[in-house]
Subunit: 420 residues, 2 copies
């Protein structure tokens, strides 16, 4: 069984590698046309997709999965329409492939071009949301990469239905088998086998909870780009404009608390804590945010619960917030570098030196001055749809969009040069 599975997955990966050659040279015009056809195919196959989804939902309910999980799993007309629109949007983004990053002429006449090319074969290992299936297919196809998808077992039927709808479009165009691939088994060994196929797969992107990512990172022989959690921190400096600070902190915590770029911890300079915290706490209180504060915070905000050391290490993804009063910018920066997850952090200040110091010394993918951390997002950055927000430092950091799904090669135009 395990041998069969290994053989089957090796075959899928080898075919994906094979297909990636032709795919990498497909013109943008063709790719965009196909993406738009894929968008229509999702709508046309809506009935089949919803039917498959009902199967998954029935199983999930029988297995008594949590309501939140069942909600993430559920598809309806509106969600399929959104998936379809997302493919149309991807078709409208600039194609990164073929872009000359830089070109220069050497003294000996060699003309060196550093050019963006697809990475090759990307494996994506993800959990329950079925829309990830079409999003990842769209992004990988547009950036010229073959993709191998391995979704969660609870959404297998939905994923397969979406996959088949999109793959039929590729078949209609007589494109190579293996451009998009789905691992159609719930066998948990499949992931471990995929992670060893470094002869065929160039990159692995796990999308899901911390345990999934850790598992993939520890087993993979293939480079992995991780999208870990976001413990995002906003520091309200002593020179902050307090009404801006209130708006930014409220937005960062409350606008969408369940996502990785929401604020989980708020630091407040001691000189303004007594002026800033009472009104801020009332606003949070009205919105149902539970505050867990340090001793100084609790003297000012009577309703705050005590924050433990663990609170500052916690990504709540909920209407909860840890608060700490700090002595100075220095303490704010070291707290952020130590307790934060290097995702998105902000300072609110009117002081020029403090702003620059925070920008330079906070070691995070996105460092903000006077703006909400909620902007860390491919669309908000103007980069378009993203495959995730990388918390790694190698290859891609922060929003990972089409360009980050490419690598480069050097094309060198010579006229007979040899090395002396």
């Amino acid at each position: 069984m395990a041998t069969n599975l290994k053989k089957q997955l090796t075959q899928i990966a080898a075919r994906a590698k094979q297909a990636s050659g032709a795919l990498s040279n497909l013109s943008s015009t063709t790719k965009n046309k196909i993406l738009q056809e894929m968008a229509r195919a999702l709508q046309a196959k809506r009935g089949l997709i919803l039917k498959a989804n009902r199967k998954d939902l029935a199983k999930a309910k029988a297995a008594r999965l949590a309501d939140a999980l069942i909600d993430r799993l559920a598809l309806n007309d509106k969600r399929i329409k959104e998936m379809s629109e997302s493919l149309v949007q991807i078709s409208r983004l600039n194609d990164p492939v073929g872009k000359v990053i830089r070109a220069w002429l050497r003294p000996n006449g060699l003309w060196i071009h550093k050019v963006r090319v697809p990475i090759g074969v990307i494996a994506i290992i993800y959990e329950s949301r079925p829309n990830v299936t079409s999003d990842c297919i769209g992004l990988c196809f547009k950036s010229g990469n073959s993709v191998i998808l391995r979704g969660g077992s609870e959404s297998l039927n939905s994923n397969l239905a979406i996959f088949h709808a999109l793959n039929q479009v590729l078949k209609k165009h007589h494109l190579a088998d293996g451009i998009i691939n789905m691992v159609g088994t719930v066998d948990r060994k499949a992931v471990d086998i995929l992670l060893k196929l470094d002869d065929f797969i160039d990159l692995v992107i796990p999308r899901g909870g911390e345990n999934l990512i850790k598992h993939v990172a520890s087993l993979s022989r293939i480079p992995v780009i991780k999208h870990y959690k976001g413990i995002c921190i906003v520091y309200v400096d002593k020179s902050a404009d307090l009404s801006k600070a209130q708006a930014i902190c409220f937005n960062a915590k409350v606008q969408r608390p369940g996502v990785c770029n929401a604020m989980e911890s708020m630091l407040v300079h001691k000189a303004i804590a007594a002026r800033f915290l009472p009104a801020m706490a009332r606003k949070f209180n009205d919105a149902g945010v539970e505050i867990r504060g340090c001793p100084v915070t609790r003297k000012i905000v009577k309703s705050a619960k005590p924050a433990t050391e663990q609170d500052y290490h916690t990504e709540y993804l909920a209407l909860k917030l840890s608060v700490k009063v700090v002595n100075d910018l220095e303490q704010a920066i070291s707290h952020t570098n130590y307790y934060g997850t290097h995702h998105s952090d902000a300072i609110v200040t009117q002081n020029y030196e403090s702003a620059l110091e925070f920008l330079r010394r906070v070691d995070s993918a996105c460092v903000y001055v006077n703006a909400s951390t909620r902007f860390t997002d491919g669309y908000q950055f103007g980069m378009g749809a993203e495959i995730g927000i990388s918390t790694d430092k190698l290859h891609a950091r922060g929003p990972m969009a089409l360009e980050e799904l490419t690598t480069y090669k050097y094309m060198i135009f010579g006229s007979g040069q040899v090395r002396g």
Copy 2:
């Protein structure tokens, strides 16, 4: 013992991480001044370094290491002078840190800057050449990264002497302990322990033979950039200028056969094989190059030995060459993508379409038209000293110089923006 070693290495790595914060914000002026002092320190401590090297040499001879290995290990006045000059050259290169890769204004007024920053802590695991010690220290220091060095056991005394000479300069400047670090034990477990310290080390670069690299890649929990072997291929097209082709192939094979960008395989279009091969073979013969050819080659070049399948997979690093006559460009491209190691490959042709087709479809770090593969080198590309030539696709591909030793972060300048 193993527990002690783990504790000791964790301490080194944690200190390196700690030190990387201050290092990342050191000015170019200061870094360059220190690099020049390091260059002088190497010369000043020449006596001590040569003494340590004599210890290593005596051990190596007692252990009957191969002459080639002993030669690589040996230091003398000239080699120390070269190491010293190399540090001066690094001091003169542009500092990539702080470079704004791109900056743009969003419609909501957010001003986004994508800025180069150091990676953090880099571990370099390498084999016998002691000059790697000072080169890597120079490159990592200039790019603002803390470095942990783990050299081969046969050069431990030389490496330590070089390390101490350079570290004394940092001490004189009262810079944080831990900017440069050397693992001063020959215990082989040290590498395996280092590779698990992903809380502190951001990147691992193995430099050495295939076995070392494979070992590191299979065990590491930290991202690895691999510098695998180079089976570089030159294809002489039917439309080649044959005198250019002869000069390029000769240079690619003979100028320095022991390096990764030397040609190991030559493909020749069948239409010109009978015209091109005899004179080319004579030239190779005069230079002592052994030719291993396909059946067609052997009909034309009587002295050629038969090439086995294995020959086309072999990096000789010596005056040996596999030769194959191919039917067309298509076969040349598929052979190159299949047998090559995606390092550096070249086409020699006067035909415009063939040149572009080869450039687009050969999936290698460096693809050349009408030039020797020997140019794949940081200095030859105008990028300056390099830490190696990456055969990976993620983060860095081809020559890996100062810029590739950095990552980026987004600095976002706001004025109170919140997300709607």
